[in-house]
Every structure is written in C-alpha cells, then in structure tokens.
C-alpha cells in the first residue's frame, strides 16, 4: 500500500495512533539529541573530573587525612550523580518514545472507546516528557524542601511520571484483553505495506538486533566478570600505593581504572545502541504508510537512518583504538539518525486531516 491510498480515517488528525506516532518519534529524536549533546559536552569532561577526584583522594590517603578523603568522595558522588542522571534521562526519554511507537502499532487491538484511547495517549506522552525531566532535575534539586530523607522532589516527579506510564500500559493491556474476547478491531489495522523502505527497515532492524545480542553475549561471557574483578583489584592496588605514599604508582592505577571504565562503557554503549537502533528501525518500518513523503525521500531517510544506526555503535567500539576521532564519527552517526527521524517526523506532520493523502504529495 502506498501513502496515496491510505484512508484518512485510518489516521485521523488527532487519533490516539497519531498522537503515539508523533509523540513517540519526537521523544526518541529529543532523547537522542540530548544524548549527543551529553556525549560531546559533558561525558569526557565528567570522566576527567572523576579521575582528578581519585588522584586527589590518593593524595589525601598518602597524607593520612581521612577527613579530606570524605570531602573528596562527597564531591565525587555529585560528579557521578551528574553523569548518571543525564544518562538515565537520555535512556528513559528514548525508552518512552519506543513504547509510544509500540502502542501506536497495537491501537487497533485495544478494545477501548476512541476518547479513552486518545486520553491515554495524551497521558502517556505527558508522562514520557515529565519522566526524563524529573530524572534530569534530580542532580540540581537534590533534597531541597523534601519531606523525605533520601528522595527529593525531582525523584518524586520522575517516579510519579513512571507510575503514570505504568498505569497507561496496564489499561492498554486490559483493552487488549478485551479485544481477545470480542476479536473486533476498534480501528483499521496497520496497512500491509511491502514497500522498499519498509522491507529495508524491517530486515535491517532485525539484523542490528541480532548482532547486538551476539555482541552482548560475547561481552558478558568473555569480559564482564573479568572487568568486575579487575575493578576491585585496581582500587585495592591504588589504595595500597597511596597508603605507602607512592603517588606515581597510585596515579598509574587511576589511569588503569579510567581505561577499564572506558572499555566497559563503550561495550555497554555499543551493545545497547545497536539493539535500540534495530528496534527503532523495525518500529519505523510499520509507520512508513503514515510518513507522507515521496518514495524517493522515504528511501533517503531510510538509508540515512540505517547507516547512522551502524556507524554509531561500530565507532563507539573503535573509540578504544582510535580515540576521539572515532568518538566524533560516532556522534555524527547519532546525528544522522536524528536527522532521519526528524525527516520522517515532518512526513507524519504533513498529514493534517484537511488534505487527502493524494493531494498531500
């Protein structure tokens, strides 16, 4: 089925499906943009701050000053929280976007009233926006004015938004259960399109996920436990050297610690990104009939998205060998995926409901 033959009633201007598709792509694109900004402007600087804190802690250990060590670790906790909350905001925004796209796909099988489905979609997108915002603010809001000992207002916002997503998902599951009883579709099923972009995204996505699984299994089997043992070994050697006032040896262990953390991080990042991009490609394959662009542009965006999906994880892995050059190329890969997503999003936006599909092209 081509875009031109898609019935407008299958994709009403403000239907739950359209809200999920538009909101889902926007959340994924925004989450990736935030991830790219984080990688370029914060990640490496944050790693440098962690290393500097460890060196300072070693100096305090060598000087026999536990009070200074406590202060340095208090500061290091803030640095780690800064990094962790930004990674979590990036991951959860994209995750909410994926779930929104998934829910768009299953809307015909959700036996609930159209008004209820639309309201659920609105709540889900709102939750998907507030969830990462809450996580992002944790580092900055802290425990200010909080009635709890360890949970601040930003955490409360994030947890409440997470609960909202969960409630929507449970109601959608209930709607699916109702469908299984009646077997009546509540809206037209997703068109069985067999276009080139759809096939390329579906098969390319499956392959990306498959390679991601293989890489994850290989890393877990070959290196995960080894890296965990090495971390405590390095820290033990670092403290022993600092206790003996051998600061050059302690600093060398800080370098080893940084290298190990880097090796672990790039493997985890490559594994998670290639699978996420594979899933994204598969999800986007289904919504191609709702992307109101010419076939030529749909093909272009598909190629850009698949190329970026491969470039990012491969060059993240190569960062260990090629350094910042590979990091820069990986960032460009991420940018390619974002550009392709925005291109497809513009295609979704072009359908206003006032134009018929043929006239919109």
């Amino acid at each position: 089925m081509t875009t031109a033959t898609l019935s407008p009633t299958a994709f009403a201007p403000m239907s739950s499906r359209r809200l999920f598709i538009f909101g889902g792509i926007a959340l994924v694109a925004a989450g990736m943009l935030f991830g790219d900004i984080f990688a370029v402007f914060i990640l490496h600087q944050n790693a440098g701050q962690q290393g500097a804190s460890l060196i300072a802690a070693n100096q305090a250990v060598a000087a026999g000053n536990p009070t200074a060590v406590g202060e340095i670790f208090s500061n290091l906790g803030g640095i780690l929280e800064d990094r962790g909350t930004k990674v979590d905001a990036h991951v959860h925004m994209i995750g909410a976007g994926y779930l929104a796209l998934l829910l768009a796909l299953v809307q015909p099988y959700i036996a609930l009233a159209a008004k209820t489905k639309k309201r659920l979609a609105t709540y889900f997108i709102a939750g998907g926006v507030l969830f990462p915002i809450g996580i992002f603010l944790i580092h900055y809001v802290g425990l200010a004015y909080s009635p709890f000992k360890v949970i601040g207002w930003a955490s409360i916002l994030a947890d409440s938004a997470g609960a909202l997503l969960l409630i929507v998902l449970l109601i959608e599951a209930w709607g699916f259960r109702s469908y299984l009883r009646t077997r009546q579709l509540t809206e037209p099923a997703i068109p069985d399109d067999d276009s080139w972009p759809r096939r390329a995204l579906l098969s390319g996505g499956t392959l990306l996920i498959f390679f991601g699984f293989l890489h994850g299994a290989w890393y877990a089997g070959a290196y995960l436990y080894q890296h965990e043992r090495m971390e405590t070994d390095i820290l033990g050697k670092m403290m022993a050297a600092a206790s003996a006032s051998d600061l050059p040896a302690a600093t060398a262990e800080v370098t080893n610690f940084g290298n190990l953390a880097g090796a672990h991080a790039v493997n985890i990042a490559a594994h998670s990104h290639i699978i996420e991009f594979g899933l994204l490609a598969m999800l986007l394959s289904f919504i191609q009939p709702y992307v109101f662009l010419s076939d030529l542009w749909k093909r272009r965006w598909t190629k850009v998205l698949l190329a970026g999906s491969l470039i990012l994880p491969v060059f993240v892995l190569l960062e260990l060998k090629l350094g910042l050059l590979a990091g820069g190329i990986a960032d460009i890969g991420g940018l390619m995926v974002i550009v392709a997503l925005v291109g497809m999003l513009s295609g979704v936006l072009r359908y206003t409901g006032t134009l018929d599909a043929g006239g919109s092209r």
Binding site: V91, V106, V150, E228, M239
Partner: protein, 164 residues
C-alpha cells in the same frame, strides 16, 4: 491475529509492565539506598586507607565490590525485561511475515517469551547467590534461547512469501 502473535504481544506487554513495576519498586525502595551504600563503602575504603587501617579498607572495598555486583545486575534486569518485551511486541505485529508453519511460529514465540522472562530473572537471582554456577548456566541458556529464536525469526523473514 494468530496464536503466535497473541503470545508475543500479550506476553510482551505483560513482561514490559512487570519490568516497569520492578523498576518502580527498585527506584522507590532500593536504588537510593544501594547508591548510598555503593558510594559510602568506596569512600570508607579510602578513609580507612588514610587512617592506615588496611583490614578495614579491604573489608569496605569488598563491600563496594559486592554492592556494585548487585547494582549492575538489578539495573540490567530492569532494562533487559523491558527491552526484550518491546522486541517481542514489535515482532508480534509482523510475525505473520515469518514464513514457517503456525506451529513452528508458536514454538519460536514461546522460546522468545521463556528466554526473555528467564534471562533477566537468572541475572537478578545472581544477586542473592553470587557466582552460583546454576544461575550463570541458566542465564547463558536463556539468552541463547532468545538468540536462537531471533535467528529463526530473521530466517523466517528472509524466506519468500508462501502463496495462500
């Protein structure tokens, strides 16, 4: 909608909801305390080293290692349950394009569901029994089941459509 599609979509949605419920429970009741323990034990190890107390430093470092071991697996479990569930739902929508008999498709769908539920669970259970060989074997076997099911799915996608 075929039986294999129902299994993947309903199983995937249930697994996603379960994974999110676990994540919510973890974030509210466990994570903050775990992170405090993680940072606290490492800081304690360095402070004991500064006080020239190697035994205390070593004990705190071991506590850090154990807490980190648990933390990594608890977070991985949450993300893998939801991630695998999403893959199941997506595959469920297009599982009719997997060109095998419905019986074989149901076997693949069941393998995906069992593997996706068991793999993170086996990883999570390792936090209660560190280094248990049975749990490591279970996580390897269940992840292998997911990989094999995914390979079969990719093969099914690549087979030409059988005329109805």
């Amino acid at each position: 909608m075929t039986g294999s599609q129902r299994l993947l979509i309903f199983g995937g949605m249930s697994l996603a909801a379960f994974g999110m419920l676990y994540g919510l429970h973890y974030a509210v009741l466990v994570e903050h305390q775990t992170l405090d323990r993680l940072g606290g034990s490492l800081a304690q190890a360095f402070m004991d080293a500064a006080s020239r107390n190697p035994a205390g430093s070593q004990a705190a470092l071991e506590a850090y290692g154990q807490t980190k071991y648990d933390y990594v697996r608890q977070v991985d479990c949450h993300s893998h349950w939801i991630g695998l569930a999403m893959i199941m739902i997506v595959l469920g929508v297009v599982f009719g394009r997997v060109n095998f008999s419905e019986r074989f498709r149901q076997a693949i769908a069941l393998a995906l569901l069992v593997g996706s539920a068991t793999f993170p669970l086996a990883v999570l259970l390792q936090t209660y029994h560190h280094g248990a060989l049975v749990l490591k074997a279970l996580s390897v076997a269940s992840s292998g089941l997911v990989i094999a099911a995914l390979a079969a799915t990719a093969w099914g996608f690549s087979r030409p459509r059988t005329p109805v």
